[in-house]
């Protein structure tokens, strides 16, 4: 019992973080159709920003260098992490959406992510370069006298509250004409513009919102793990979040939470406790192959994911029921 609890609590905390990340990516990719291949860069921005805001100045003689070190109390670092990540998301969107067709968006975001990765790795003055930041204290742990190995006792409640909040925002969007308009942009940007939708502004807004949510997830990560360095935001991390969204059901908030449980809770956390077979890197490699293989299978056999997109009908008088489940068929089948 006493050995299993921390294991499950840790897995649960990661699932919470991943559920938050999946909802944010779902807003961009699943709902609005924005293919942001550097989503995890915004998780990293949130993690670093929250980290250096929570940490104090680097101790003299430690060799560590990072900016700020403001020692700010909870929840200010999380809020600022969201703002900064959202700001950078907006900047990326401004450069991308104004000029480029959405096909080029994917490759452009990938390039931007690589640039960000190189900057963080090579400029040690920013976030301590390749070694990253570490020793980030858990918020409120000292207030409640929680021992360092049990930080999940404060972070799980905090995470659940944030997840509930993020889910509520996404749910309200789902139920509103705003969400319907975002879906119209996904389904046909020119037609949306032809009916008065300011597609540039709407896409900009979704980039800001989704990236801010990524930043919140990053902030929770650094407060939970206590450390963050460039190895934590390699490109593959973005694809793992995509896997959660695609497996769960793009466009469906509950579906992508289910995807987060499957990918993070079952596959990733589960594989951590498998016995080492062969080389040390074999299990993680097999794990990524399993995730990748599942994505391919789902895209092939069930493109709407485990749970398809449902759209509650806002204006329907109640007696006619709430939801219209999408008819069978996939995005790919639509003849446009």
């Amino acid at each position: 019992m006493s050995t299993l609890l921390p294991i499950f609590a840790t897995a649960f905390m990661y699932v919470i973080i991943y559920a938050i990340l999946s909802i944010g990516l779902n807003l961009q990719y699943g709902v609005t159709g924005i293919v942001n291949f550097t989503y995890y860069t915004f998780v990293a921005i949130g993690a670093y920003v929250a980290g250096v805001l929570t940490l104090g100045k680097p101790p003299a003689g430690s060799g560590e260098t990072y900016i700020l070190g403001l020692n700010l109390p909870f929840p200010i670092p999380i809020v600022l992490a969201a703002l900064v990540a959202g700001l950078f998301g907006g900047l990326l969107a401004l450069t991308v959406f104004r000029r480029l067709r959405s096909d080029y968006l994917a490759i452009t975001t990938l390039c931007a992510g690589t640039v960000a990765f190189d900057i963080v790795t090579n400029s040690t003055g920013l976030f301590n370069g390749p070694n990253g930041i570490y020793g980030v204290p858990t918020p409120l742990a000292s207030t409640f006298g929680v021992p360092p190995q049990n930080t999940y006792m404060v972070l799980i409640p905090i995470g659940l509250v944030i997840l509930a909040l993020v889910w509520w925002v996404a749910h309200c969007i789902d139920l509103s004409p705003y969400g319907r308009t975002l879906r119209a942009i996904r389904e046909g940007r020119d037609a949306a513009a032809a009916f008065g939708k300011n597609t540039l502004r709407l896409q900009l807004g979704v980039m800001i919102l989704g990236c801010a949510i990524a930043g919140i997830g990053g902030a929770l990560t650094v407060e939970f793990v206590g450390a963050f360095n460039p190895s934590a935001f390699e490109t593959v991390e973005t694809f793992v979040v995509y896997a959660a969204v695609i497996l769960g059901g793009p466009g469906n908030n509950l579906g992508v939470i289910l995807g987060a449980v499957l990918v993070q809770g079952v596959i990733i956390q589960g594989s951590l406790y498998l016995p080492t077979i062969g080389a040390e890197s074999l299990v993680p490699a097999i794990r990524n192959m399993v995730i990748g293989g599942m994505v391919i299978l789902v895209l092939y056999f069930r493109p709407r994911g485990m749970v398809g997109e449902t759209r509650p009908q806002l204006g329907v008088p109640r007696r006619r029921g709430l939801g219209v489940r999408s008819a069978p068929g996939s995005r790919g089948e639509a003849d446009s």
């Binding site: 509103s176 705003y178 308009t181 389904e187 032809a194 759209r311 806002l314 008819a327």
Partner: protein
């Protein structure tokens, strides 16, 4: 006196070249309020490009577009749409993975819950307006004979049904002027007459039209005035009977069509 008010749509010396191709070459024409104005011409004449320039999907190289007494030349497409200038596309552009009624609802102007903030904070007002819009959308689906398809995804519709859906969106959007780019393309004769009467009814309800159409029978039934384009230029304009007499038109267009 500046009483010489402009017509509802005034296209002044508009020009658009794609590389070396002058798709629309210094064209001027207008649509007056209340009319259904035809726009005909052979394939590649520049009709769809003209529609794109008027709707704002394309940016012209020079010239001006005036709509409802305003110079909208620099306006993006969505702003022109909000002013009441709506269009259809030569290839139907429904939103395929949204339901038929969602497609219609999306066209409703000035929706309260269309920003993040109002989606979170003005939920009661939003719901009330949505119920109103829903009622209007259902009415329009009935008018256009799409009621049975209400909850189907739009990509499952037939070509002709998609044309009807596009017209329903225009009506929902409270257009002042609708640009229809070949609304009859791929439509069966039976549906054709129904679309013709729909367009007439919409005209009676106060919508003006610029109708791009190859079928001169349809043009003759609907349009009081016809503009003829060929090779990016306006050849002539007049009633269908007048333009039939025009020698260049006979050569450039009528000769090849029928």
């Amino acid at each position: 006196m500046t009483s010489s008010s402009r017509p509802l749509l005034d296209v002044v010396q508009v020009h658009k070249a794609f590389g070396g191709v002058e798709a629309v070459a210094d064209c001027s024409f207008n649509v007056v309020e209340g009319e259904i104005c035809g726009l005909i011409g052979p394939n590649g004449a520049g009709k769809s490009t003209a529609v794109g320039l008027i709707g704002g999907a394309l940016r012209g190289d020079r010239g001006q577009v005036w709509f409802a007494e305003q110079d909208v030349t620099s306006w993006p497409a969505h702003r022109r749409a909000r002013a009441g200038l709506l269009r259809t596309f030569q290839l139907s552009q429904e939103w395929p993975n949204l339901t038929v009624i969602e497609n219609v609802l999306l066209a409703a102007p000035e929706q309260i819950g269309e920003t993040l903030w109002s989606a979170l904070s003005a939920r009661r007002r939003m719901r009330r307006q949505e119920e109103e819009n829903w009622g209007r959308a259902e009415h329009l689906l009935a008018v256009f004979g799409l009621t049975a398809l209400r909850d189907q995804l739009a990509w499952t519709l037939s070509g002709g049904q998609k044309r009807l859906l596009e017209l329903a969106r225009i009506a929902m959007g409270r257009a002042k002027l609708a640009l229809l780019d070949e609304p009859m393309a791929g439509v069966s004769p039976a549906l054709r007459s129904s679309i013709i009467s729909q367009i007439r009814d919409m005209q009676a309800s106060g919508i003006s039209f610029l109708l791009v159409e190859h079928d001169l029978g349809v043009v003759g039934e609907l349009c009081s005035r016809v503009i003829v384009m060929a090779a990016g230029r306006v050849l002539t304009e007049g009633t269908l009977d007048e333009i039939r007499q025009h020698p260049e038109v006979a050569a450039a267009y009528l000769g090849v069509s029928r």
